[in-house]
């Protein structure tokens, strides 16, 4: 059963081809699937496992390690409030509490209408504009309680759709110039690795662990 749409599947295969070891494409593929569904569905994890040659449990193991990969459904907007030290000094705790009461949930939860998920997060690398908030991993600037309420209203009204794409979207422009992988070089490297392995196998008289 295919879960990834045809165009994504094609991109997935292209991504796998970028790496000498297919499993190196695991995380990029997780993002690709998350871009399609907004979160990482089990069906997607199974398919990724197949594409990169690991087990579904290993995909899940990796996915659950990273905060930006969601293995449970999330809202249309994932609102992240940084509570790391600089933001904490700038009132992040108060903002988070305000956000919780404004949305009627605890950090980590999703509103019943499925619009917002609130996250408490570590440093978002925008420490000079505290407390820092991101929506779907896009900076929306330092927020006060009032501006936060406005932000929620704007998001609900769809006013920010230009700056805040659907959850899961990583980049809207695919890079075609500058630092791009040289496919021929990767293919050559893969070939060289396979040859080296074969040569080593031919040389190795006895694998370890033997002994009479």
């Amino acid at each position: 059963m295919r879960h990834l749409a045809a165009d994504r599947l094609a991109r997935a295969k292209a991504l796998v081809a970028l790496y000498p070891q297919p499993r190196s494409a695991l995380i990029p593929l997780c993002h690709l699937a998350q871009e399609q569904d907004g979160w990482l569905r089990p069906e997607a994890m199974s398919e990724i496992a197949e594409l990169v040659g690991v087990t579904a449990a290993e995909v899940q193991g990796t996915a659950t390690f990273y905060d930006m990969l969601h293995t449970e459904p999330v809202g249309t907007y994932v609102v992240s409030v940084c509570t790391n030290i600089a933001c904490l000094l700038g009132g992040a705790q108060e903002l988070l509490e305000h956000a919780e009461s404004a949305l009627g949930l605890r950090a980590g939860g999703t509103t019943p209408d499925g619009v917002f998920t609130l996250e408490e997060s570590e440093c978002l690398a925008d420490c000079d504009r505290t407390p820092c908030v991101q929506v779907n991993h896009r900076y929306v600037g330092a927020q006060s309680a009032e501006s936060f309420d406005r932000l929620l209203g704007d998001l609900r009204a769809g006013k920010l759709s230009d700056t805040v794409p659907a959850h899961g979207t990583l980049v809207r422009v695919q890079r075609t110039v500058g630092l791009v992988a040289d496919r021929a070089a990767v293919a050559a490297e893969r070939g060289a690795m396979a040859e080296a392995q074969a040569a080593q196998a031919a040389r190795a008289p006895a694998p370890a662990g033997g002994g009479a």
Partner: protein, 933 residues
């Protein structure tokens, strides 16, 4: 102190006698440095630093302190940290009493915790497979289980999920931890986080009693610690035998002990009267006794005597009276058996008596039965294989490899079924070797668990193996024939060229080990034998592992339980004089194999008719790949004696006399594994009811026949065996009990090769449970080296003894008679599954639910032609019979074939081995028509 190159500090220190505490380190897996329990102080230019001993290799001139104050503080800290979130529910934890966390906390811990906060909580336990439960609160994240799954078993169905203190071992929601090796994770878990359902809450380790033994559920012969309580087996643990199993067991070997206990699955509630009577022995009320599912077996003994429950074992001699089996005493049963056999012999001569089975016996018992059949009764129609093996002279005559040889060989060729299904721990060993660089050429009719690792896979249809073997070794005519062969396209995709390239530098076969078994039971063994002979002829320096799988089949064949053979790997011809001297007489002519015996009984062959049959722990109706013939033979009204521990269709419906025998763990003796390694079996239990060891039944039956087997104990047999069986010369009891035999002894013994194995004390953290029990007063066998361990083997050959079988024998041309494939028919392939309808699985309630559903697997192309797809029902029709199964599209199954598992029932009614109804053992291959229903 010296170390091997690249050796980790923890291992080198241990060899030198310094034990460094550890949790995550396991000597059979890659180090990960997860737990930090092994921190030691290592001198460096910047002063002494704490470093994990499991993760740094020994270097020249290294100075290490393992007991400094700093190290002690680190150990305290690590343990305090591990215990911060540990539930400390030791009183109700199965690991309590043999737990590395308990033991090392006591030995190295701070003794007190400063942690007063709330601990982490998880739902406990959760089932991660049918056999394994996980208690996440107890887990210390050592990654032993996950490393085992990915590194050793090669199926990472469990992995860590989450991060930080929320890390947990986890399966994927739709994929349970269904590995055949899951029990190993339970064994090596250093805490009670993983438990196995068959043992959970059944015992406390200090109440268990232990002997060391060998698993005989298949012919790999893994070393095991067999533990019991109150004459009931409670569990088996793997012991690390370096040449064999590296401490691992498969789940069948580990859990099939339940069939020895023989409990019924659903015994139902006890009637009050009986339950009251049982309150004496139970600490509880009758209701509680019933509620105690796991320990109820302890009370069953009494219930059996009142006849309330049917025991899962045969425990009393029985004879058939007016169609029904009724219990009688041994004397009467033996007299009836002797009269029946004697009658047949008087009427039709010695060859009217035949014997099928013997692979479940110890070597000593097999020898006793061989002596009874061949020396006393005088028949050579004796076969320990049930048409599912290889010609015995081939299996014993091929130059044999050891498992270590196979793992060290640069090139492996497999011409066998799926080794993970048939010989699971051999699969683990070979897999490790292939991942480590050995190159595998696989010749197989269907994909196997090794296919993904093969350097080249040569798909074959039944009947083609000899042709493919010829092409592989460079016979140009065969290469040509293959190009026009229907299978040619698959081979021409380069796999043949790739395989030949792998072999190219080894034209003599040096460094090549060939594993040869039965790729399909719906194809005659003669076809595989021909292919094996082709390979043996073309690669004279190659060695072989014959992949016969029944428990002690190699011991049985070595003891002469095959037509044309005598004990000690000699042929009837070569050994005639020698054994006539030892036994008085031997059969005049070569007898029949199982197929021949059954045909004769069914009246479908000329020559002397077999009219009396001894079933030696065998069930031809399920084991023999031609049910129609077996049924005809057993129903023909001939006299049948069954010597067996378990009921089966053949026994229940057809035996005239049932002689109950002791089974594994109920008698001492020796067993011979796939390599020809003889190792000792532990005697842990008293056999239930009136069951006797097999050798004793042979001796008593000889007496009832008016003869004398000349032995009155298993020791007598062992003493006779090494003096008469040439391949076993020198294998005296003192050798077998000495340190040189710690890992078993390869026969024939090569003089001077007997050296003491490196016996190191067992590491209680690598194998929790084995030593902990040992400490409770069980015989100190495991890992204990006594004396200087050397032993003088004076007599490894017998003067004037006949020569051993050697060489593969003449090539044969069975394949020339394989009928051409007809384009409307599919050739039937039938391989084995680990969990099948054999008595060890059906008698083990934990394993029975794991028997797979029978399906017809075919290439999607062949299914398309019928307009069928996965899930549709199809009818398979052969000249022998027909059956309806669900179809499954399997791209790996070559076109023109259909794969149906052997010895798996098609539903709850009907025969245990459904597919054998389609197979005609007189044909070389079985063709079937597939139709949609």
């Amino acid at each position: 102190m010296s170390a091997k190159p690249g050796e980790m500090l923890i291992a080198a220190a241990e060899r030198a006698g310094t034990y460094i505490p550890r949790f995550c380190y396991h000597p059979r897996m890659e180090p990960v440095g997860m737990c930090r329990m092994c921190l030691v102080e290592v001198d460096s230019p910047r002063g002494a630093t704490l470093q994990p001993a499991c993760f740094i290799a020994v270097a020249e001139g290294m100075v290490v302190d393992t007991t400094s104050a700093k190290v002690k503080k680190a150990q305290d800290g690590v343990l305090e940290f591990l215990l911060a979130n540990h539930p400390l529910d030791c009183p109700v934890c199965d690991k309590g009493g043999e737990c590395p966390l308990q033991d090392q906390t006591l030995a190295y811990g701070p003794g007190e915790s400063r942690f007063i906060e709330e601990k982490r909580h998880f739902e406990k336990p959760i089932a991660i497979s049918d056999l394994v439960l996980l208690d996440r609160e107890r887990c210390i994240q050592c990654a032993r289980c996950t490393r085992f799954a990915s590194e050793v078993a090669g199926e990472a169905q469990i992995d860590f999920a989450g991060r930080g203190e929320q890390v947990e071992v986890s399966t994927f929601p739709t994929e349970p931890f269904s590995s055949y090796f899951s029990g190993n994770t339970v064994q090596i878990c250093p805490v009670g986080a993983l438990t196995a359902t068959p043992y959970r809450f059944t015992a406390r380790p200090w109440d268990l009693d232990q002997v060391e033994s060998t698993c005989t559920a298949c012919s790999v012969g893994c070393r095991v610690a067999v533990q019991s309580s109150s004459n009931r087996l409670t569990r088996l643990l793997g012991i690390d035998s370096d040449p064999v199993n590296h401490g691992w067991l498969c789940d069948k070997g580990r859990f099939a002990f339940e069939s020895v206990n023989g409990d019924e699955v659903d015994a139902g509630p006890l009637p009050p009267a009986l339950a009251d009577a049982m309150v004496d022995v139970a600490p509880a009320t009758a209701a509680q006794v019933v509620g105690l599912g796991a320990s109820r077996g302890q009370f069953l003994g009494e219930a059996h005597e009142t006849g309330l429950f049917e025991h899962g074992r045969l425990i009393e001699p029985q004879i058939r009276v007016e169609g029904e089996l009724v219990s009688v005493g041994w004397g009467e049963a033996l007299a009836v058996a002797a009269a029946g056999l004697q009658g047949a012999r008087h009427a039709g001569g010695a060859s009217a008596v035949a014997m099928i089975g013997g692979a479940r016996l110890t070597n000593e018992s097999a020898y006793a039965w061989a002596k009874l059949a061949k020396g006393i009764i005088g028949t050579d129609s004796v076969d320990a294989q049930l048409g599912d093996g290889l010609p015995a002279d081939l299996a014993l005559g091929l130059p044999r490899a050891t498992i270590d040889d196979a793992c060290a060989a640069p090139v492996l060729i497999t011409l066998a079924g799926d080794l993970r299904e048939e010989l699971p721990v051999l699969f683990l060993r070979l897999r490790e070797a292939i991942v480590g660089g050995s190159r595998l050429i696989e010749i197989a009719p269907a994909p196997t668990a090794l296919s993904g690792l093969a350097a080249a896979t040569l798909p074959i249809r039944p009947g083609d193996a000899p042709l493919v073997a010829r092409a592989l070794v460079g016979d140009e005519a065969a290469v040509g024939a293959l190009s026009s062969h229907p299978q040619g396209s698959a081979l021409a995709t380069g796999s043949l060229a790739a395989a030949r390239a792998v072999l190219s530098a080894r034209s003599e076969g040096d460094g090549v080990v060939i594993v040869v078994g039965r790729p399909s039971y719906a194809e005659s063994g003669d076809v595989v034998a021909e292919a094996a002979r082709v390979l043996a002829g073309a690669l004279p320096k190659a060695t072989f592992l014959p992949a016969l799988r029944r428990g002690n089949v190699f011991g049985a064949l070595d003891m002469g339980l095959a037509p044309g053979l005598l004990p000690g790997r000699v042929s009837l011809e070569a050994g005639r004089e020698w054994f006539a001297g030892a036994w008085g007489s031997v059969p005049a002519t070569t007898g029949l194999d199982t197929a021949g015996i059954l045909s004769s009984m069914a009246g479908s062959s000329d020559g002397d008719a077999v009219t009396a049959l001894i079933l030696l722990g065998s069930d031809p109706l399920s084991d023999f790949p031609d049910r129609a013939l077996a049924l005809q033979a057993l129903s023909a009204g001939h006299f049948i004696v069954a010597v067996t521990g378990h009921p089966s269709e053949s026994v229940d419906n057809h035996a005239d006399v049932v002689l109950p025998s002791a089974v594994a763990h109920e008698r001492p003796g020796t067993t011979t594994n796939i390599e020809g390694r003889v190792s000792r079996l532990g005697h842990k239990l008293t056999a239930p009811g009136f069951a006797w060891p097999d050798w004793m039944i042979a001796a008593e039956l000889a007496g009832a026949l008016g003869a004398d087997l000349g032995v009155s104990s298993a020791n007598d047999l062992a003493d006779e065996l090494h003096l008469t069986a040439p391949a076993y010369a020198g294998l005296t009891q003192s050798v077998l009990h000495s340190d040189v035999a710690h890992d078993g002894i390869l026969v024939p013994i090569i003089l001077g090769a007997a050296r003491r194995a490196d016996v190191e004390p067992i590491d209680p953290v690598a194998l929790p449970g084995v030593e902990a029990v040992e400490r409770q007063g069980a015989p100190p066998r495991v890992g204990m080296a006594g004396g200087d361990g050397s032993i003088d083997i004076r007599m490894a050959s017998l003067v004037d003894a006949p020569p051993l079988l050697s060489g593969p024998g003449p090539a044969g041309n069975a394949s020339a008679h394989v009928p051409p494939a007809d384009s409307y028919a599919l050739r039937l392939v039938s391989g084995r599954r680990l969990y099948d309808a054999g008595s060890s699985v059906t008698g083990s309630p934990s394993l029975t639910p794991l028997v797979p559903t029978l399906v017809a697997r075919a290439n999607p192309y062949d299914l398309d032609r019928l307009g069928a797809t996965t899930g549709d029902r199809v009818r398979l029709r052969s000249a022998r019979g027909e059956m309806v199964l669900e179809a499954e599209a399997a791209p790996g199954v070559p076109r023109g074939t259909v794969a149906v598992d052997f010895n798996v029932p098609a539903g709850s009614d009907g025969p245990a081995n459904a597919v054998s109804s389609l197979i005609d053992s007189r044909q070389l291959v079985t063709d079937v028509r597939m139709e949609s229903v």
